[in-house]
Symmetry: C2
Subunit: 342 residues, 2 copies
């Protein structure tokens, strides 16, 4: 019988108040247990870091259960089958799993999807061909519904979801304006991804620049940040504009005891009424029956060079907490992935 490997994992040590800090996480090690019949032992190769994970660190009511104190942080992963007592899997198979922030995991196979490394780099299953890409696709197809010539605005536009939103909206015929932090990211949006315009939300004249970049107003705002960006976008929304809401990264770290002195809700509700706006929160799994369409269409777009992606790879599970804290501050440039093993 082979020696059992030692697994390392990052657990939630305590719930953050506001911004997460290193002390909210704890690295642990333990020996992996034996497999039962039907199980496989996975070695995690790549861990996806995504903004939604901040929500799992709170115990607020949500569509998903919070991570328990002492529990392994949740997350999508690409893994290699190390050992198997499940006939559906062979050692060496590469699979998509949701194993969380750890080096090894045991699965009964029901949550695994085999990946073909010959078809696409396996890390794309965590990004452009995974949950973030499908979030972009599902939100545009079902809620944003951009028509040719309409203006689509997306924030965090160089990130995993935002970059897919902008490129897919362009494929749908829309004019696309991206919002990102810093000149390098804005240049990337225009020069590499082909966005029609890019606006730097760090600049002092951000709201004015956004208005200038949207001379026909905004028909679809793909909301994944909230906060000050929303305030700049909101006055530019056209009649019948659609706002799919898939994230609110600007609010995740908010201390709810710090109140804004001005209630923005009445103005927003009045605009919803006067402009016949649609604001719709969603999570991609609501549209799970469209995943096969997505894999087919997005695969073709990637092959044609119309849907590009960029990865920001951090090496070592022990560096996941710092990388995740940086993600919430916009420090990553591209889809943030931790290489757990090679």
């Amino acid at each position: 019988m082979p020696t059992q490997p030692t697994a390392t994992r990052v657990v939630l040590a305590s719930r953050p108040s506001g911004k997460p800090v290193a002390e909210n996480f704890r690295l642990e090690a333990e020996t992996v247990r034996d497999l039962a019949e039907g199980e496989v032992l996975l070695q995690i190769l790549y861990l996806s870091l995504d903004p939604y994970m901040r929500g799992r660190m709170d115990d607020a009511k949500s569509y998903a259960k919070p991570v328990e104190i002492g529990g392994v942080m949740e997350g999508g992963t690409v893994a290699r089958v190390l050992r198997t007592r499940n006939a559906a899997f062979d050692p060496g198979d590469i699979v998509l799993s949701h194993s969380g922030w750890q080096s090894h995991a045991i699965s009964n196979g029901s949550d695994l999807r085999k990946l073909d490394p010959g078809q696409a780099p396996v890390t794309t299953a965590l990004g452009v061909l995974g949950m973030p890409g499908f979030t972009a696709y599902a939100g545009l197809r079902n809620i944003g519904k951009p028509k040719a010539g309409e203006t689509v605005v997306v924030a965090a536009a160089s990130g995993a979801v935002g970059s897919a939103v902008g490129q897919i909206a362009r494929i749908f015929g829309a004019r696309v304006v991206g919002i990102a932090g810093g000149r390098e990211k804005c240049d990337y949006l225009r020069d590499v991804l082909g966005f029609d315009a890019a606006v730097d939300h760090h600049s002092s004249d951000f709201a004015t620049a956004l208005a200038a970049a949207c001379p026909q107003g905004i028909d679809v705002y793909f909301e994944n940040v909230g906060g000050p960006v929303w305030s700049a976008v909101f006055p530019l929304l056209n009649d019948f504009a659609r706002v799919p809401v898939c994230g609110l990264i600007a609010h995740y770290n908010e201390d709810s005891s710090v109140a804004n002195s001005h209630d923005q809700l009445p103005a927003v509700m009045r605009a919803i009424l006067r402009k016949s706006l649609t604001i719709r929160g969603f999570i991609q799994r609501e549209f799970a029956d469209q995943r096969s369409d997505f894999y087919r269409e997005a695969g073709a777009w990637i092959a044609e060079g119309r849907l590009k992606h960029k990865e920001d790879i951090v090496v070592g599970l022990e560096n996941a907490p710092e990388a995740f804290i940086g993600l919430l501050e916009g420090k990553n440039f591209g889809k943030l992935i931790v290489r757990v093993a090679s």
Copy 2:
């Protein structure tokens, strides 16, 4: 040639700041001009008073143009054709028009719809079989989409839109909770209209009573008031709840310089995300192609006794301003209509 009648009309004398007052309106008289070829002279019989008119008194950007200072107040009307130089109309025809707050109007006929007094009381064309009824129908059919067994909540529930929302939602199989001001209105909702529950928003324990009346949460909130009612409804919204927004009567008179000290927007946006909520503003004319369905279905429901209505009739055009001011304070009980002539 017959003597020209003298027309009376109510014009917008000045724009209100906050609540409208009598001085914002002015009664004027003038002699009606001769008809040109193709025109008809209308004698207004009934004028509909509706909350949306408050919006027309402001010059804020909206889907509709504001009434100009010195212009006739806008409004739906039922009228009798007095004279005609249009072959499509005979003297004595009863028509639905949008003639505003006046005793007489001249039309080229293109905006008129003939009513059959033998089929339904003509005032229903301003209420349950008119714009308010269709607002209820279109908002439920296209946005609220209540499923059998779901909980639908509507405020201003004894009013023209609210009473139709509740009854149509019950016809669609939903459990319906109405919110109204005062015991008499609440009794009417339960005892006459057959609502499953009614909650008095004047009561000191309103939020608690609403929660108790919605043990399964709220799946559809038909928003026509805003303000404190929204604050009580909002925490009760279920995952995937739909909020058609057709009015915000509580905000119409708001002085926007008086800011709430607490910003409710972040909490609302977070709930939109966490609960996959849909908030959608609309005006009924967006769904104009469903009007024939509405006339057919609502006509049948009325004939079957499943869709009832109540009118609150005020006599005399000169009393329209006071009645309208009262409408914004919830003083009416049923669809508010001014009898301009009999």
